[in-house]
């Protein structure tokens, strides 16, 4: 029997954060991770994370996990056991785990469970054909093993996962034939939707899959339109050719392990389904049993890190009373509340109030009309007009156009302007507002925006030439003086331009910053470039 103060199950962001918090408070911690590496979902995330800079947003998931690994490795009282699957937590507090073909027993003083989530499945005809994959599987194949999942992929679900995995598929060299969404609106953050729209990927709202075609593997799919009551519209079926169907229809908390522990659950769809009951300090109804991360509610990495810290601190407080941990615990709680206070946090807020009765502040009213945008992923002229400087200012200096129209909890841009030209946020859900008196159009912010939603425009010169600077994360990279295709917000080619500069130093961390000379009439249309493939 192995003994320790705290057993942490799951080595994703939530589990690592719990282990670090408890380790720093002096607890002897054992961290179990089923896979051969730490990181959970983060190991597959090649994109820059949205969220709070304090929790490393603006950095790629794969880099965040490297940082976390370093921090946890420095703590001598935290032991990490990889390739170890926890098998059960029993009512007497003993846990069993499987490590290198051997069953081990652990008797800790407290347990934090942070096992994350499991992908939902969707019933449709032939949904078991090879080529029908979960989004996580697609990411595992391409981002961990370097294997292209398929050539032409249909994405089911327009939540953040569906949108982000679509983008990653294009980066890996695949084609995404479309993203379908049963709801009339795009589910994920609109910056992520805009990112794939300008690559030419269509998004079909009010649409679902009826059937996959194929004998031994997927060769196509039949889709159908839905009315406002989510009922199929007769005769609206259409088919697409594709060789894989990727399901990104949501996650369920992975609660299996808690089944025998005595932990109570509640069905709260807003939080992802059946979730463990817990209080604001992440304590379940079972003494000494804590939870954190996607297991407690399907959210994001920032929330997972904060919840993990809270769970680790709560456990430390219980096992070693007398330490002054309350102040930090309150700080973390405040931070979590702020994170969830915006319009996109509404679902989580209502879910949490069902769970704990936590009262959360009411959101600040929306400052921009985004209805059209949330159906299409394409900003309207009215959206754009709200973020541009006046005509006089346009002529005097280059300027930044921040196409971030939806309040989401994300703040890297504010922290990355060397001139303080993006107004400080009072709330992490604020929209960025550029002070054009301070903005020089330097473009430092471009590569740091997780939504890749910042562009700079220089229309100070006389004549019909102007310049646009934009982020670019594909291969091949453009070179100076090369002529490239110019794409608008829907991915349509609207002309050609000449590349004037390509910034690709380690500081850009693979988000190449490209400046293109284009016709001045196009400066507010062009949002993506395409390198013309030489045959």
């Amino acid at each position: 029997m192995i003994t320790c103060d705290l057993l942490v199950i799951g080595g994703g962001p939530a589990g690592i954060s719990a282990a670090v918090a408890a380790g720093k408070a002096g607890l002897k911690v054992l961290l179990l991770e089923e896979r051969e590496r730490l990181g959970g979902q983060l190991t597959k995330q090649t994109h820059r994370f949205f969220g709070s800079v304090a929790e490393r947003a603006g950095t790629r998931g794969i880099a965040i996990i490297k940082d976390l690994e370093t921090v946890v490795a420095q703590l001598e009282n935290v032991e990490i056991s990889l390739s170890t699957t926890a098998l059960g937590i029993y009512e007497d507090g003993v846990s069993t785990a499987l490590k290198s073909g051997k069953m081990i027993k652990i008797k800790p003083k407290a347990i934090v469970v942070a096992t994350g989530a499991f992908e939902k499945f969707l019933p449709f005809e032939n949904n078991d054909l090879p080529g029908v994959y979960g989004a996580g599987a697609v990411q595992t194949l391409m981002n961990i093993y370097g294997v292209l999942p398929a050539r032409r992929i249909l994405m089911i679900g327009s939540g953040n996962i569906g949108l982000i995995v679509s983008y990653q598929l294009v980066q890996a060299g695949a084609e995404v034939v479309g993203v379908i969404e049963a709801s009339p609106k795009i589910g994920g953050y609109l910056v992520h939707a805009s990112k794939i729209r300008r690559l030419g990927i269509p998004i079909y709202p009010s649409c679902t899959i009826k059937k996959a075609f194929g004998q031994d593997r997927v060769v196509g799919a039949e889709l159908v339109r839905l009315d406002e009551k989510w009922k199929e519209i007769p005769g609206s079926q259409f088919t697409v050719d594709c060789d894989a169907i990727c399901l990104a229809v949501g996650l369920n908390p992975l609660i299996d392990l808690l089944g025998q522990s005595g932990c109570q659950f509640k069905y709260i769809p807003e939080l992802g389904g059946q979730v463990p009951i817990r209080d604001e300090s992440m304590r379940t109804n079972v003494p000494h049993l804590y939870i954190a991360g996607d297991l407690s509610s399907i959210e994001e990495a920032t929330a997972a890190l904060l919840e993990g810290e809270l769970a680790g601190l709560s456990a430390a407080k219980q096992i070693r009373p007398g330490q002054s941990l309350e102040a930090r615990m309150e700080e973390v709680k405040t931070h979590l509340r702020a994170l969830r206070s915006g319009p996109v946090g509404e679902k989580i807020r209502s879910g949490l109030s069902k769970l704990t009765g936590e009262a959360l502040p009411t959101p600040s009213p929306r400052t921009n009309a985004i209805d059209e945008l949330s159906r299409t992923g394409i900003a309207s002229p009215a959206n754009l007009a709200g973020v541009l400087p006046d005509e006089k200012r346009k002529k005097t200096r280059a300027y930044a156009v921040i196409e971030c129209y939806q309040q989401i909890p994300c703040d890297p841009c504010v922290h990355n302007c060397p001139f303080g030209a993006i107004k400080p946020f009072s709330d992490i859900n604020d929209l960025p507002i550029v002070d054009f008196d301070l903005c020089t159009g330097c473009g430092q912010c471009i590569g740091r925006c997780p939504g890749l939603a910042i562009f700079t425009v220089d229309e100070t010169r006389d004549g019909d030439r102007a310049k646009i600077t934009l982020p670019y994360e594909f291969l091949p990279k453009p070179v100076r003086e090369e002529t490239v295709d110019l794409l608008d917000r829907s991915g349509k080619c609207v002309g050609q331009g000449v590349v004037k500069s390509v910034l690709n130093t380690p500081k850009q961390d693979k988000t190449t910053i490209v400046t293109v000379e284009i016709h001045r009439n196009l400066v507010q249309d062009v949002r993506q470039i395409r390198v013309v493939q030489k045959s």
Partner: protein, 104 residues
């Protein structure tokens, strides 16, 4: 198909590992699981389903769903998506389901 170049990630070409799939010699690379190696070769159908004998491929790729069960070195019901390939490994489709007695 393997991803040869990627704008964000770099994949090291590791040592070749040889194994057999349903009697055929196939090659993967160190670090591959059975599923990633087979998938890279265009082999998507791993086994047939236990009752209706429908073709089955991977679904979750993290060992949670059981869609990828195969017979490995004679042992049935191995989750091929989380099992690393080894030199000389014998991988077979499992049709329809592992028998209790062949391994005893």
């Amino acid at each position: 198909m393997r991803i040869s170049e990627h704008p964000i990630l770099s994949f090291r070409q590791n040592k070749e590992v040889h194994f057999t799939f349903d009697g055929k010699e196939v090659t993967g690379y160190e670090g591959d699981t059975i599923v990633s190696a087979l998938h890279a070769l265009g082999i998507w159908k791993l086994s047939e389903s236990p009752v209706h004998r429908r073709p089955r491929g991977l679904f979750c790729a993290i060992g949670h769903c059981s869609s990828c069960l195969m017979r490995v070195n004679g042992v049935p019901n191995v989750r091929s998506c989380v099992t690393p390939i080894e030199e000389g490994m014998v991988v077979e489709s499992q049709n329809p389901r592992g028998d209790l007695y062949d391994h005893v």
